[in-house]
């Protein structure tokens, strides 16, 4: 028996499937880095399958079985290509803000070439319904972007409906909250508008505070949103909304200020104007160009397997 035949052995397939099972069970509790525990058995399986297809005459006699095994090989190849080129990340956009390609957190395959800057879109606000007990129901997020011809496009994304731009799939997440909007007028400089995204609401309902630094200065502000209303009543169906009355507490060193919308705060480096309270939305982004090809390979695998068994079982009735 040549080494090629040994690699094509159906008994080796059983061993490799066992190794894959062991790899899965190692990955599951997070004991081992998933890359190696799964990559090694999957590579062995691909080699075993390829050798078997090349040498085993049964594949030349049974075309459906051949199609099934080739589809399995394609699935392994696409899954590997996907892991090398994927991107998974997170971003936050205040209402009206445009995504320019910067992620707050991300991981990607070594061969991922970012096209995120082309996937610009704006967050036009959202509605979220809550059932009794503050259980999140539907999320509807209006988004806007310019297509390749320069035409403005609008869509509403949310549960089960991502925005797909240049292969990147953007999902509105459960991560969202309040965002005070400021205008900073530096002494002798051009004014700048900015927002700060307070911690996620309602998960961090009692921690609506954040420390931040005014752009171009060393001044650090501690900002807290204060309101008395119950926005999401556990006893009834409700919607995420802004409080009707609120104040923004600003602390700079030992100084404490309470700002209402439109209030101005004079500082040595300029004037800070608190314009209004808005919202922000958190998104997850996912990129994997292999998705449609994986789907085609999976459907080919299952169809050819069904065809193979159909031919095999049709020869003898099931009722005997």
């Amino acid at each position: 028996m040549t080494w090629f035949n040994r690699l094509a052995s159906p008994k080796l397939t059983l061993v490799v499937l066992g190794l894959l099972g062991a790899g899965v069970l190692l990955v599951y509790p997070g004991e081992v880095r998933s890359d190696w525990a799964l990559t090694v058995p999957l590579t062995l399986l691909a080699i075993n399958l390829a050798c078997a297809v090349a040498t085993n005459p049964v594949f030349r006699q049974q075309s459906a079985l051949l199609a099934f095994h080739l589809a399995l090989l394609a699935i392994v190849a696409f899954a590997a290509a996907g892991r090398l080129t994927y991107l998974k990340g997170e971003l936050e956009l205040a209402e009206g803000e445009v995504f320019e390609g910067t992620l707050t957190r991300h991981e990607s395959g070594p061969w991922h070439r970012s096209q995120l800057a082309r996937a610009r879109f704006a967050n036009d606000g959202y509605t979220i319904r809550y059932e009794k007990g503050v259980r999140r129901a539907e999320t509807r997020n209006a988004v806007r972007w310019l297509d390749d011809t320069g035409r403005e496009r609008h869509a509403v994304i949310g549960d089960n409906e991502p925005l797909v731009r240049h292969g990147y799939r953007f999902y509105a997440s459960f991560n969202k909250g309040f965002a005070p909007v400021f205008m900073w007028h530096p002494a002798g400089g051009a004014p700048q508008r900015g927002t700060i995204n307070l911690p996620t609401y309602p998960i961090h309902e009692f921690r609506q505070a954040l420390e931040w630094t005014i752009p171009g200065t060393q001044t650090t502000l501690w900002t807290m949103l204060q309101f008395d209303e119950v926005l999401l009543d556990p006893e009834q169906v409700s919607r995420f909304r802004l409080p009707e009355r609120h104040t923004l507490v600003i602390r700079i060193g030992d100084m404490r200020h309470e700002l209402a919308p439109g209030a101005r705060l004079a500082l040595p480096q300029g004037v800070l104007v608190y314009e209004r309270l808005g919202t922000w939305m958190g998104y997850t982004v996912f990129y994997d160009w292999t998705l449609p090809w994986l789907f085609v390979a999976c459907m080919l695998a299952v169809t050819s397997l069904a065809w193979h068994f159909w031919k095999k079982f049709a020869a003898q009735p099931w009722d005997r």
Binding site: P10, V24, S34, G158, N160, R169, F286, L305
Partner: protein, 270 residues
């Protein structure tokens, strides 16, 4: 809610009668097959009414709580089993093995709370129905194979009740069980594909090795191993029967054990 539960109890009573008759018929070598099928069908009708009324009252299908998952699976497994029972006479003696398994599930459902659960927004997709349908057909096919495998093992263990001695030889029984396992393999593959499509839209990833995904894939691997083992090693029927039961145990734990111990995945985000 009272009518729903009364109908459910009525269904459970009919299933229990059908199961007891099936066991009695196997021991006594009598043929009450039409009576057993009629009782199963009457139970299914009452059960369907109970599930339908709950669906109407809550505004969503029985996919959330353990009570709903167990109840709907008892219904769907019995529906699939009743179809096979009607169309393939060779699987009928297996009712003596299958019905006790379903009775355990019924008993389990009775000790769980029938209270409503939260229906997550990620469940509002047609892919949920496609995924669940394929999953139910998969488990139903494997359950039919388990009925046949149980007969092979009972006979091998020396249980000499009359009906078992009248059955075809172990090789033919095992061949029939293998057909249902092959059918189960196809539908489990479809279930995983539909689940991956749903997960991509619902959670922004098609696969993340969450507990349900991991154990569903482990079950798929076990089924693939069984099919490959049977083709390459040509197992003795009783070994094959033992592997079929092992695969079913794994699938059963995946369906009903993992959601029971893990609340995080497949429940939608907060």
């Amino acid at each position: 809610m009272a009518t729903e539960l009364q109908l459910l109890w009525m269904a459970l009573l009919l299933y229990t009668l059908a199961g007891s008759t099936a066991i009695g018929a196997t021991v006594l070598a009598t043929r009450f097959e039409r009576v057993i099928l009629a009782m199963i069908l009457a139970g299914l009708a009452a059960h369907a009414l109970s599930l339908g009324m709950r669906w109407e009252r809550l505004g969503h299908g029985p996919f959330i709580t353990m009570f709903e998952i167990l109840s709907s699976n008892v219904w769907s497994l019995l529906l699939i089993y009743a179809f096979a029972y009607w169309r393939a006479p060779a699987v009928r003696p297996g009712a003596a093995v299958v019905m006790p398994i379903l009775l355990v599930m019924m008993a389990w459902s009775l000790v769980t709370s029938p209270a409503a659960g939260h229906y997550p927004p990620t469940y509002r997709t047609p892919w949920l129905y496609v995924h669940v349908l394929f999953g139910k057909i998969f488990l139903g096919a494997v359950l039919i194979a388990v009925g046949i495998a149980g007969l092979i093992l009972l006979r091998r263990a020396g249980v000499r009740v009359a009906r078992l001695t009248q059955l075809p030889d172990a090789g033919r029984l095992e061949n029939l069980a293998f057909r249902f396992m092959a059918l189960g393999f196809i539908f489990e593959t479809l279930m995983l594909i539909a689940g991956a499509i749903w997960a991509q839209d619902a959670w922004g990833r098609y696969w993340a090795w969450d507990p349900l995904e991991t154990w569903a894939f482990a079950t798929w691997l076990a089924l693939a191993c069984f099919i490959h083992l049977r083709v390459t090693v040509r197992l003795e029927p009783h070994y094959s029967a033992a592997v079929i039961i092992a695969v079913f145990v794994l699938a059963f734990l995946t369906f009903f054990g993992v959601p029971f111990v893990s609340t995080a995945p497949h429940k939608g985000a907060v």
